[in-house]
Symmetry: C2
Subunit: 405 residues, 2 copies
């Protein structure tokens, strides 16, 4: 099997690029830290003899030639993080891919199919929406130009930032059509740990609905303005945050709802806010229920605007239906894990992943390993090295089977 | 009487210092724009022959000698604004004071008492809390050192900013003890306009309670974290904003409640906020009711923290009990307004004012003029020039009576 020491060495070295207090990483897509992370990755890929190609949205592909010209087997994930990210989200799947290549090289194994290790651009989607942008463009779900024209939360244009960091490549987007795609990732949730399983065979992913509500009311004096004369945009943003929380509780099941980003203007203690923006993240494994949640929210916002005499601009930032992975590939992962004696669980993913975009163009599936305490998007995100190694070895086995010897 | 043209000229010239889109002013306390406003004021004071003194908290006093050494009569207000301020809030009372001096000079009138036109530092309190900081220090309600050590919403220290703009003066704070203080101000609320009155004789001011709640939860993934495992600081801030809105509706009467300033961290769409700060402004004309509101809010926050497994740090940013102005002075203002044939109304102030601090050390009262549509802390804040002139003339008459000829 693979070497835990080498895997951890790479993970630790890479976590230094964009390191933040508490042991975490801030490597927002297309920032200088992302550039550093990419440069390191490309360096390692070249060291391993991979041919490195970069496409128009900055996706990086390290290609290991196969014995045949057949469609490649692809693995990988992303190397960007949220602002309070952990050391494993995304990067783990890419570094494990490199370790698989090193193992193959060391054992002098030539596979029938080419093997590609991919790092997709802007998977997190916190700076530029939507999330999974790189793999979405790769899969043809978002025109390249539209992706490049996206404006980030800092007001900068995606295409400009990509060019600035030197990763606007010349490979036509989507030109690498894989035979299959397998992504290894930390679970980021509490399920595996709670159930004492060490490998998750991901069979489906939740639908994701991201919307931004931009309320415009009227700034006025907090002391002199009677309650019934207020047109308080800040109150509307808060009311939406509370509404979606209650909605999620009411729906139960897989429904989650988060209002993680809020901005008020002028944002002063004694001024009723003239403008307020709130971003809402709704998810459900069931598409019909997710649509119902969106409709309820829309109706609530309409009624809120009327009651408060404010206007609203609604922007859809991301919308993905639930995705079911390839049944054969899920079974393969289960078999590989089982053959190594791991307690394995079929499961859903609460997070969005690049594999969900790749599933549009080829059989795709994912391998999960446990996240301590179910904590992610947090510097304290943690997975035991032994678990990281187990997942990487299951990936190795699955890739060997898929690429053929 | 005074000249409308000259009053408006000064107001317009001064509104250029920190001008923002929509005809408003952004002159946050102790910023460069505030320095410009101060320099202009001092220039005009000197032009009018006033002796200019600046105290340790940056309050500016323009002193016109009297025939006697008796305690001075003081008028004035403030020249700082909120970030989305109008053209009249504060500055009107100071410019009217200058026009009174010009009128006295032109008519060669020597008053028995000295007359002082004051501009108090940081009345708005949006950058550095509490509001009415300059007059509060003057009245002995806040030690100078504590005021100077206040850290603003931009992280800068009040004393450093005061020194930077060159207004850390050498006059000992509170050394000017007035015989009486009369402040002329726009109403900033809808009452005078709604009732067709053009002069308000302010007899009392609401109590003001400013608190900041800083919640600490745990950042986690918006997609993978089940609702019952969340420790969402952002939700807590939103819940507080919605709670105080409902509290104000429930209490009715003069109760108002605003959550105008909210910050989330990391403030990203798919990350449950680890930290969130919400500033709450509660006001009531009745102290017992205001205390009840504070207690209800504290109980709610306790219960919220327990339910959400978050911790909270509560900071009191400002707390002023309701103030009742000097009955004789209120009557004098009514008489002066009546003598000029103005429809006058005794009223409460919803906003806090420097006169409320001065009332701690001398008889104090205020003159209000109407605010169009009751709009304030908004670039669209407006008062008709004729109304501005009426108020200034009532101020002139009251000052003449108080200072004696
Ligand atoms: N895996 C992961 O954290 N993806 C980011 C997109 C999302 O699910 O919010
Ligand atoms: N007059 C005025 O707007 N004062 C600011 C302090 C407050 O009332 O919030």
């Amino acid at each position: 099997g693979l070497s835990q020491e080498r895997l951890m060495q790479r993970l630790e070295a890479h976590a230094a690029l964009g390191a933040i207090e508490g042991g975490g990483v801030c490597r927002l897509a297309l920032t200088d830290a992302d550039r550093q992370g990419r440069d390191q990755l490309v360096h390692w890929m070249r060291e391993l003899g991979l041919e490195v190609r970069v496409d128009g949205i900055g996706n990086i592909f390290g290609i290991r030639a196969g014995r045949t010209q057949a469609a490649p087997v692809m693995t990988g994930s992303h190397i960007d993080t949220v602002a309070t990210g952990g050391r494993y989200d995304g990067i783990y799947g890419v570094m494990a891919g490199l370790e698989v290549v090193r193992w193959l090289n060391e054992h002098g194994i030539e596979l029938a199919r080419p093997l590609v290790v991919a790092a997709f651009s802007n998977e997190e989607g916190v700076r530029f929406q939507p999330d999974m942008m790189g793999s979405l463009v790769h899969a043809g779900g978002l025109p390249l130009q539209q992706a490049l024209d996206t404006v980030g939360i800092d007001g900068l244009r995606c295409g400009d930032e990509l060019a600035r960091i030197g990763y606007a490549g010349d490979l036509p987007c989507g030109s690498l059509r894989p035979h299959a795609f397998v992504e290894l990732h930390i679970e980021q949730g509490p399920v595996l740990e709670a159930e004492g399983a060490c490998i998750g065979a991901v069979q489906d992913l939740q639908g994701i609905s991201w919307q931004e509500f931009r309320f415009t009311g009227q700034s006025n004096h907090a002391g002199t303005t009677p309650m019934h004369l207020r047109r308080d945009a800040g109150y509307c943003a808060a009311a939406v945050a509370v509404f979606v929380r209650e909605l999620a509780r009411r729906y139960g099941g897989s429904q989650v709802a988060t209002a993680g980003a809020v901005q008020l203007h002028p944002n002063l203690i004694n001024v009723i806010a003239a403008r307020a923006t709130v971003a809402v993240d709704l998810r459900n494994t069931d598409e019909a229920t997710l649509q119902r949640a969106e409709q309820e929210l829309a109706a609530y916002v309409r009624q809120l605007c009327e009651a408060e005499s404010v206007t609203v601009q609604t922007r859809r930032l991301a919308r993905f239906e639930p995705v079911r992975f390839d049944a054969g590939l899920v079974r393969l992962i289960e078999d590989c894990a089982g053959a190594r004696g791991h307690r394995t669980r079929r499961m859903s993913s609460g997070a969005g992943h690049d594999a969900q975009m790749m599933a549009r163009i080829c059989p795709a599936a994912m391998i999960f390993v446990p996240s301590a305490g179910g904590i992610s998007h947090n510097p304290r995100e943690h997975t035991e090295p032994a678990d990281l190694l187990r997942g990487a070895n299951v990936l190795l086995d699955a890739l060997l089977t898929l690429a053929g010897q």
